[in-house]
């Protein structure tokens, strides 16, 4: 899952990002690769639980990768769910569940405990169904440039199998490189041969309209 990383299925992947290096492209990449790799549309599902109703953007970016999301939605292969209205439970194997913009829930006043309970319940459901769960969490970096580890992040980090960080370059903005991606193992995960990418050997990416280009 998610080239060039050789992540297995059925994991809980926590993807953290910052405002100067948003990880939208990573979520799009995961979902589109999952949909493209489907052997049969009836079995494979991708469910996106988002707090921000940005379905039009998903459709526009998918079109650039030659995926018609409307068609996939009608066949049931792609499901876009607004978290604030209701939540959907995956009940089929080979499902990829993406949870986006959880931090928005916290910043707009929802109690951290409720969000944590929701994530735990979702993680347990996905684990029972052997589905892959991908959660995106924003990390704040005020002027000190050290990321603030909020309670929600700490909870998610404890639960995750792998932790992927999408970071800006430490040397500042560049025209050739948009940012860097690192992959760490979760605190409770046994090392299973997945190649990790610490910050010292992070992969650089450049954003283009079609996605993240050329891992430099």
């Amino acid at each position: 899952m998610l080239s060039p990383f050789d992540l297995p299925a059925g994991i809980l992947l926590l993807v953290t990002d910052q405002l100067s290096s948003p990880a939208d492209f990573m979520l799009y990449r995961a979902v589109f690769a999952h949909l493209k790799a489907a052997r049969s549309e009836k079995v494979t599902k991708a469910i996106v639980l988002s707090v921000s109703p940005d379905r039009a953007r998903w459709a526009a970016v998918a079109a650039k990768s030659n995926i018609q999301l409307d068609q996939k939605s009608t066949t049931g292969a792609f499901n876009f769910v607004d978290v604030l209205s209701h939540k959907s439970e995956p009940d089929l194997p080979d499902v990829l569940v993406v949870v986006d913009e959880l931090a928005t829930l916290e910043w707009t006043g929802s109690p951290v405990l409720d969000i944590t309970c929701f994530c735990r319940a979702l993680a347990a459901t996905c684990r029972k169904a052997n589905a892959t769960l991908l959660i995106r969490q924003h990390v704040l970096t005020p002027s000190t440039t050290e990321p603030i580890l909020e309670d929600l992040f700490r909870t998610l980090h404890h639960m995750c199998t792998y932790h992927m960080e999408v970071l800006p370059l430490s040397s500042g903005r560049s025209g050739a490189v948009s940012g860097q991606v690192t992959l760490h193992i979760g605190p409770g995960t046994v090392r299973a041969g997945v190649k990790l990418f610490p910050r010292s050997s992070a992969i650089h990416y450049k954003l283009a309209d079609t996605g993240a280009l050329g891992v430099l």
Binding site: Q18, L19, D24, F25, Y28, V51, S52, P53, D54, A56, R57, A60, V61, E101, A103, T104, W107, T108, G109, H138, L140, T141, P142, S143, I148, G172, R173, S174, G175, A176, L207, A208, D209, T210, G211
Partner: protein, 406 residues
């Protein structure tokens, strides 16, 4: 440094609306895309540049016969203070020959012959750079001209200009009721004409007692509303007390995540040192996020001339600032002065050339004498002058070129 002028063209299908300021349109990648929200913050309590930008936004909407909804308290008086087109009503091209050149010296400066044909150094974009990619071409407004009351009256009569006041009760937050009424306006209006939502001074005392999460929730819901009704766009300016970064942890970043575009106009009014460091500017512009409604990369990255991010690999981004002249507000690139920049090369003096000679004959400067004494050891001779390094001897001997002595 002069940059190539690019045509600002949006390849996506999202239509754009002009902000009324040519240089700000360029920074945004052509204008504000419909269905997007732009949040402006201005932490300086002595000035209101963010509200000035909002007035341009409103005036542009009126000049383009678009629909506008102004949300706030005392909105009629606020609208009456907006700027308008110059009195002769000809859309003058704002070229470089304006009040900026009045400050230059009248004497002809001697320029080397090879540079005489070059154009003057440009720090901003002119009116000709904006193309027809926007739904409305950007007008050139004059700050010395007030909007005629007849224009406002006609727009109100035609229901193209709506005023939404703030009302909140003990049980109902002002932000909640505003969102509800805004949705009614968006749902009932004509969808063929772009609608501009203009919210000056969000979070001011007239909005009641709001917390940080109330404001973030409002911005989040506003964005969701604009996505549902994509013929509209919004420009919001936060009240001064909500514009500083220390309001909450990572406040600017939270604003950036909650809106499509977020920029800060950091004026120098309260900081004389910065004003002295950048004499031609009134403040610096900080960009937190830019609109990208249907693409991964904001259009501004590719098309903005001022930001300079599209000019080949390896190029960084220009620093941006703004200044308010008598007639207009301009955003431009920031350049260091000659003395402080890389134009002046300074090399460190070699160690052997430390000058201890008195510069003025009448004064006698004596080099400091350092005496180091250790117990039990004879004191070393005081060093009166720095030790001169022995000259490097080259191993090459001119009479025997084949021999090298290393």
């Amino acid at each position: 440094m002069s940059f190539k002028r690019k045509t600002t063209r949006q390849t996506t299908t999202t239509p754009l609306v002009s902000t009324g300021i040519h240089s700000l349109d360029d920074i945004l990648g052509g204008g504000i895309p419909l269905s997007c929200s732009l949040v402006l913050t201005a932490p300086d309590p002595h000035s209101e540049y963010d509200q000035l930008v909002l007035k341009y936004f409103l005036a542009q909407g009126l000049a383009s016969n678009q629909r506008i909804c102004v949300v706030g308290s005392d909105t009629e008086n606020w609208t009456a203070q907006c700027m308008w087109l110059p009195p002769n009503s000809a859309r003058q091209i704002a070229d470089t020959v304006d009040e900026d050149t009045e400050t230059q010296s009248d004497e002809k400066i001697k320029i080397a012959w090879r540079y005489e044909q070059m154009k003057p150094f440009q720090t901003t974009v002119g009116t000709s750079s904006s193309t027809g990619a926007t739904a409305d071409p950007c007008c050139t407004f004059d700050l010395t001209t007030r909007i005629p009351p007849s224009v406002i009256a006609d727009a109100v009569k035609a229901q193209d200009l709506l005023f939404l006041s703030i009302d909140g009760s003990k049980d109902n937050l002002s932000t909640t009721s505003v969102l509800k009424r805004l949705e009614e306006v968006l749902a009932n209006g004509k969808t063929q004409t772009p609608l501009r939502v203009c919210i000056p001074d969000l979070g001011s005392p007239s909005w009641g007692d709001l917390k940080a999460h109330n404001l973030l929730h409002f911005l989040h819901c506003l964005r969701a509303l604009l996505r549902r009704y994509p013929h509209a766009c919004a420009c919001v300016s936060l009240a001064t007390e909500w514009s500083a970064d220390h309001v909450a942890t990572g406040w600017y970043q939270k604003l950036g995540w909650m809106s499509d575009g977020a920029i800060t106009l950091d004026a120098f009014s309260g900081n004389p040192a910065l004003a002295a460091a950048f004499p031609g500017l009134h403040g610096l512009l900080r960009i937190h996020t830019l609109p990208a409604p249907t693409t991964l990369v904001p259009a501004s990255d590719r098309f903005s001339t001022l930001r300079g991010t599209g000019t080949g690999a390896g190029s960084g981004e220009n620093n941006l600032g703004f200044k308010c002249t008598r007639k207009r507000l301009v955003f431009e690139t920031v350049h260091l002065d000659v003395e402080g920049g890389v134009g002046e090369r300074r090399t460190t003096a070699p160690p052997s050339a430390v000058d201890v000679q008195p510069s003025i004959a009448s004064k006698k400067i004596v080099a400091a004498v350092v005496e180091v004494e250790l117990e039990g050891t004879p004191s070393p001779e005081p060093v009166a002058a720095p030790v001169k390094k022995s000259r490097k001897r080259v191993g090459f001997q001119s009479d025997r070129p084949e021999v090298y002595d290393f």
